[in-house]
Symmetry: C2
Subunit: 392 residues, 2 copies
Amino acid sequence: MFDFKYFTPTKVIFGKDSESKLTELIKEFGGTKVLIHYGGGSVVRSGLLKRVTDALDSAGIAYVTLGGAVPNPHLGLVYEGIELCKKEKVDFLLGLGGGSAIDSAKAIGYGVANEGDVWDFYDYKRTAKGALPLGVILTIAATGSEMSDSSVITKEDGLIKRGYSSDFGRPKFAILNPELTMTLPDYQTACGCTDIMMHTMERYFSNGGNMEITDALAEGLLRTVKKNAVILRDNPKDYDARAEVMWAGSLAHNGLTGCGSDGGDWMTHKLEHELGGLYDVAHGAGLAAIWGSWARYVFKDCLHRFKKFALNVMEVENKGTDEEIALRGIEAVEDFYRSIGMPTNLRELGVEPTEEELKLMAKKCAIGVGGAKGSAKLLKEEDMLAIYRASV
Amino acid sequence: MFDFKYFTPTKVIFGKDSESKLTELIKEFGGTKVLIHYGGGSVVRSGLLKRVTDALDSAGIAYVTLGGAVPNPHLGLVYEGIELCKKEKVDFLLGLGGGSAIDSAKAIGYGVANEGDVWDFYDYKRTAKGALPLGVILTIAATGSEMSDSSVITKEDGLIKRGYSSDFGRPKFAILNPELTMTLPDYQTACGCTDIMMHTMERYFSNGGNMEITDALAEGLLRTVKKNAVILRDNPKDYDARAEVMWAGSLAHNGLTGCGSDGGDWMTHKLEHELGGLYDVAHGAGLAAIWGSWARYVFKDCLHRFKKFALNVMEVENKGTDEEIALRGIEAVEDFYRSIGMPTNLRELGVEPTEEELKLMAKKCAIGVGGAKGSAKLLKEEDMLAIYRASV
């Protein structure tokens, strides 16, 4: 196993009505002027934004608001948020929504606390030396951004989607109320479950340093999400299932399920990032559409992990050769995706790229990862293209 | 499930030679004058204390030292530490060793940062409003104090052993190098594994609010420790097994394995605290000696949990009535304890209390928990006495 750092300072307040703790938490972390950053109209329609501003008014905490964070959040809005924070002397950020609003808020936080162009961090040119403190009220269980060090931003010019990770970006607090996720469309719930599982699967499929305890935690988390995703398909208002998935989402991406490993594979995410940059598809659905092709392309180079996953997570029969067991595990994942309405190829995702577009994505992906990447199997541009082609 | 808070801000640096990051971490958290607090001679004999003071000298960080923290650490030394910190204007505490040194350092930290008698916190009279920042280099995997909010101190007058929990007590950083635990006597290693498992088992055996994901994580952690405790019995220098157990120790008691539950049972710990206060036995061995009697006394009132534990942790055969399965699980735990040299009753622990002493422990235990306690089964003084009697 490898040495590791584990740092999850986010104070999580989990449960019904947990947003009632909001102003107390903002004050605890020194916020006096807040930028409330959110996405589309759902937090307006649900009344959450109004409840938040009412609470801030009552507590005498000043604020400004900035909506408009879209899935695959845009750099332009980040720049706008940075200017607004500077002009209004904002000292605390509140992300309200899912990964889009939170990722966008993280980027705004870097931009305010550091000189120069914030895109530099996402373009691997510099590292951030700090960030504005950020709190979160989560309304979609998916990206894990509420406890993670990472954020993903899309630069409109060239549709370049890039992630940046820094401990400065970890939220100070995260308010997780499963009830706030109950009104999500079924498709978004399923996308979220897929994303959650993928954050742990990316860490799981690695050829280096895996710890038994990390595997045991990862496998338990994955089995829990797999089971509760199906419960939510049939009963979206099941509070306990919402809670299981929501807490899994935070633990899946805060670092816990990667301790001791080489960092994981992450190529499904990288391949999806190019899809998301080019077609603006839902991130979770994009991952599901790519994963099977990735898995079949790489599994022989990481056979012991695919076999372990098949047995301990997908609970397939322990019969036949290791390859047969691994393949049954891959098939079981695809069956699971289909069972919750997720695509298992690009056509089902609603995307039909031309050969030129496939080549463009492979080229951009290779550039994005600095040439080659992957722990289950090291992938170069031609491998990426082969996986894209297989996923059509 | 119940609402919960999850807060584990401790920065963990895990792996070989991780203590080389010490001075960098002290500086990161603002330490300029350090009290190095440790226990017996082992950190002196191993050369660790010298390496630490050399590193602080090289980095230009001033320090004073205070050794002498014993298992079931004493209040008298805590008072001494508080006076020393005030006199020397110490602004950072470094706990060097196992739970004794860390718990003692936590109490010193409360005493320096709060007016009045520090024992008040352990006597449930007041709550702490802060603490000196604390860092840790762990040399024994057992108590989980390196990430937990809790500390246990024994007042010499009356041999009263009490725990106090506060988020202010959570260490700022924890340096976890499995190699530092390799020279532990086998008995202490086994005691540590027992303590680690008990921290999660206390949370697991509850009648309220259990989450599936928490159960899955807890069961995975317990299976990992169970397996690696046996590996360490046969090969104490196995680095990977040391690492599995060390990381499990931190996760077993940082709150992760209790999320969503009613807080857990904790009566085995409370019963052991009186043993530890009166006889100065090793904490882990005391827990092992009491657990079986506790489990047989309470299991029918928490049958679904004992059955689940038997199947998913002890991996007994799923055959017969629920009670039969639960009892096979309890027997399997006792078999496991014996296999790693742990006692399963007080005689094997080397303690033979008189009936009067049993009554005294039950009386003190009942007072310590405010009359009655327990989630698997609510225990009053007469129940505590019955369990003590059964454990003789």
